[in-house]
Amino acid sequence: MRRVVITGAGTINALGASVPATLEAMREGRCGIGPLEIRDIDRLTVQIGAQIRDYDESAHFNRQQIALYDRFTQFALLSAAEAVGQSGLVFEGELAARAGVIMGTSGGGLNTQDENYRVVYEEGKNRVHPFVVPKLMNNAAASHVSMQWNLQGPSFTVATACASSNHAMGQAFAMIRSGLADAMVTGGSEAMLCFGGVKAWEGLRVMSRDGCRPFSATRNGMVQGEGAGMFVFEEYEHAAARGAEILAEVIGFAMTSDAVDIVMPSKKGAARAISGALADARIDREAVGYINAHGTGTAANDKTECAAVADAFGKHANDLMISSTKSMHGHLIGGTGAVELLACIMALRDGVVAPTIGYEEPDPECALDVVPNEAREARVEVALSNAFAFGGLNAVLALRAAP
């Protein structure tokens, strides 16, 4: 079977505008969550988020581009540029035809929707900008990435709420492994920090007003973030033949559906996804040293996830590390798995496990090694990235250190 490796990574999120900046923040356990700066913030009860600060779109894009690029597209393009640049790939000829882009997003161009609903409903205008549709559509980011890098193969966008990125990257992995493509640009992007995006989440009453403290007994909900993570997945022989630097190998993927409840997570569905990824990777569960948790910081997710890990790993659950980096970069919803994959790469490549910050007090229902508050040096052979979405759709990726 063809093997799949990662030869490029890029990101912009509240922790930094590049992979090195983000990994440094994760190593230092820095928190990207703070007061939100968005329009009509006074009408929100949740006023914090992991927002990308000091972001000036005009520093990266010209007027014509901004007319077409929603914030989530901008984040995707910036991240893709870093990833493709690192990979050193040039997409021409046969390679261009056998390369595509698969992205995850949940809200798509939500800022564009929010702004234009305001224009027609609140301001009563009867005319909107001609590019509202191509700007807001969920596949806009994937399409612009494909145009920017001449990716002419299979390209589409996946929306499975908080698991979107993992589902997307799982598809990219499967396509290369099966021979449908030789290289894929893949990951996810989200820009939901606008009035409507936060207000909708507020309604569900699962948001924290003061911080994201996954696995801690004092946790009281999730905190939204924004940004993107993009990667270049490449067929191993292709990468090896050109002497590319390999960041990590993708060795397994599994997805399951709880088929139970639209918001409450299920231990069984999550455990099946974890075990499925291990089976797909053909490895013993004892090989796993680190799990980047879904770890949203809600009461329900964290205890269910820990129970699922205990189920899937048996005794080994006590010997592995599991951390939630959402404590630092917030919950990027459809983009979250992509940014979180960076923590897996850091563990495998650099031997540094990102911490769960904000950890205050043990919760007996989350009694695993959650790497509280401080990063840890450790040799990790295999890492998993969990994503368990609303709607009960689960997706778990397994990565191994570069061959």
């Binding site: 309604g203 009453r205 699962v206 909900g221 009461a299 329900a300």
Partner: protein, 88 residues
């Protein structure tokens, strides 16, 4: 005013549980009535809309909430308190 609040809260809970208001007893918990966590959040939303109040409730820490949801009676009491506080 008190009975008014009580009747309205019971009507909201009954509607959520798809029961007749007459079948709701003040001593019952929402769980006994068959209202799950989603139903609870929806009921609180309906209460906020009905009385134009803000109910302090976080689904992550229902026990810590100042809004006591342990029974129909406690909910009615809490809503009466919020309505009175708003008028004050």
């Amino acid at each position: 005013m008190a009975d008014d609040v009580k009747d309205k809260v019971i009507r909201i809970i009954a509607e959520q549980a798809m029961l007749d208001p007459a079948d709701i007893s003040m001593t019952q918990s929402l769980e006994e009535i068959g209202i799950d966590s989603l139903g609870l959040v929806e009921s609180i939303f309906a209460i906020e809309e009905e009385f134009d109040i803000q109910v302090p409730f976080n689904a992550n820490e229902p026990a810590k909430s100042e809004f006591d949801i342990s029974s129909v009676a406690s909910i009615v009491g809490a809503v009466e308190g919020l309505v009175a506080a708003q008028k004050a």
